[in-house]
């Protein structure tokens, strides 16, 4: 296993408890691949969680959980930051989390925004029947994408990604939703990522998907499979047969 500096003297074990549709799990996969780390992948059935998962994350009982040398880590953005700190990037590549404290605070702010605003609205879209609640969720999702598009426009001089020349924390936070795009647009019967409305975000989507680590990580959740999954999820959430 490739490791850097003093870490290479100590045997490292990495195990990821994951579920293939989860955008949070995909974030951790992207980070692990960017750092070229070897890890064991364990698929969890979220309707029948393993004892190991329940004991590794007793508080939330959720995936992803990264177990590093038998110590569990939970919450995707916390895990990604941990990976960045323990396995620093080589000088040819910027770190996932910026080095400058201010830039770091900004990156964390936008990563939190993905969770607190965009994901929250997407979750409402998934759980709401057609009608007012769903329309509001759609509107909120479109609003978030407009904000991201503006942010990319303002950052465009620094590079194609939210992280500048290289993929950073915000890119990792947002990229997995690209697997879910088709599902969101089908459930909501709307165009979510539109070239006319969000030209910068569309370009970003193409650029980020060309990165081999992102492509590999997102390959576990092809669009058609995610759509099937969301249909089942929705029928359970809405109490249908």
């Amino acid at each position: 296993m490739e490791t850097t500096g003093e870490m290479s003297e100590v045997p490292q074990t990495l195990k990821l408890l994951s579920a293939w549709p989860s955008m949070f799990c995909m974030r951790v996969l992207i980070a692990l691949k960017l750092k070229r780390l070897d890890y064991e992948y364990q698929e969890e059935d979220l309707l029948n969680k393993s004892q190991f998962l329940l004991s590794s994350n007793p508080v939330h009982k959720k995936v992803p959980v990264l177990i590093h040398n038998d110590k569990p880590l939970c919450e995707s953005l916390i895990i990604v930051q941990y990976i960045d700190e323990v396995w620093p990037s080589p000088p040819t590549r910027s770190p996932i989390v910026p080095a400058d404290p201010y830039d770091r605070a900004i990156a964390r702010f936008w990563a939190d925004y993905v969770d607190n605003k965009f994901h929250e609205a997407a979750a409402r879209l998934m759980r709401s029947p057609e009608g007012e609640l769903q329309e509001q969720a759609k509107k909120d999702m479109l609003g978030c994408l407009a904000v991201f598009d503006e942010l990319l426009r303002d950052l465009s001089l620094k590079g194609p990604f939210f992280g500048g020349q290289h993929i950073g924390l915000v890119d990792i936070a947002l990229a997995p939703y690209l697997c879910w795009l088709h599902a969101f647009e089908t459930i909501g019967a709307f165009k979510l990522l539109d070239e006319g409305r969000c030209p910068h975000l569309c370009k970003w989507a193409n650029d980020v998907l060309e990165n081999p680590c992102v492509k590999e990580a997102l390959a576990i959740a092809p669009a058609y499979k995610v759509l099937e999954f969301t249909k089942v999820y929705r029928s359970m959430a809405l109490g249908h047969e």
Partner: protein, 167 residues
């Protein structure tokens, strides 16, 4: 090194920022925002996304979200006299961030909607969920602190700052 804090006296989150600044011995200017009447132009420009307090403005650059501000304070004023709010070890740091996040999601969110607003039937479940969340925190304090008075061991750390403002 101009430091300005935009907050209101009511804000639990603002209190976190003030605790962290005082702990580090950083001098700052405090601007009270009146959130009921009109927010200041400075606030609206500094936090256009959420338009909320607290905001820390350091040399003209705004930082928002209380836990992010506390981490920023740690990183922008690393000082050898006071231990940092976040531990130095990456794993301990991840654990501290986890519990600080837990405080925001579970303790704050569950305490922000008063029990009285919940119907009589649902009250027992709501109260027991608040208790469960607090029990989990209590368990964590026991495990993490190993007998010391704070989450951070002998000194005040991130999770202590996150929680203290609730008292």
């Amino acid at each position: 090194d101009g430091v300005k804090v935009l907050s209101t006296w009511l804000s639990i989150f603002g209190l976190r920022v003030l605790i962290a600044l005082k702990h580090k011995g950083v001098e700052y200017e405090y601007q009270e925002e009146n959130l009921l009447s009109s927010k200041s132009q400075l606030l609206l420009e500094s936090n256009p996304v959420h338009k909320k307090v607290p905001v820390l403005i350091h040399n003209g650059k705004p930082i928002c979200e209380s836990l992010l501000i506390v981490q920023y304070i740690d990183e922008a004023w690393p000082s050898s006299e006071k231990p940092p709010h976040l531990p130095n070890d990456p794993y301990d740091r991840a654990v501290a961030r986890f519990w600080a996040d837990y405080v925001d999601k579970k303790v704050f969110l569950s305490t922000s909607s008063p029990v009285q607003l919940v119907s009589r039937e649902r009250r027992p479940r709501k109260i027991s969920s608040k208790l469960c969340n607090l029990q989990a925190l209590d368990g964590a304090l026991h495990d993490v602190s190993k007998g010391s008075p704070y989450f951070g061991g002998e000194d005040i750390r991130l999770v202590d700052v996150a929680l203290a403002s609730f008292l």
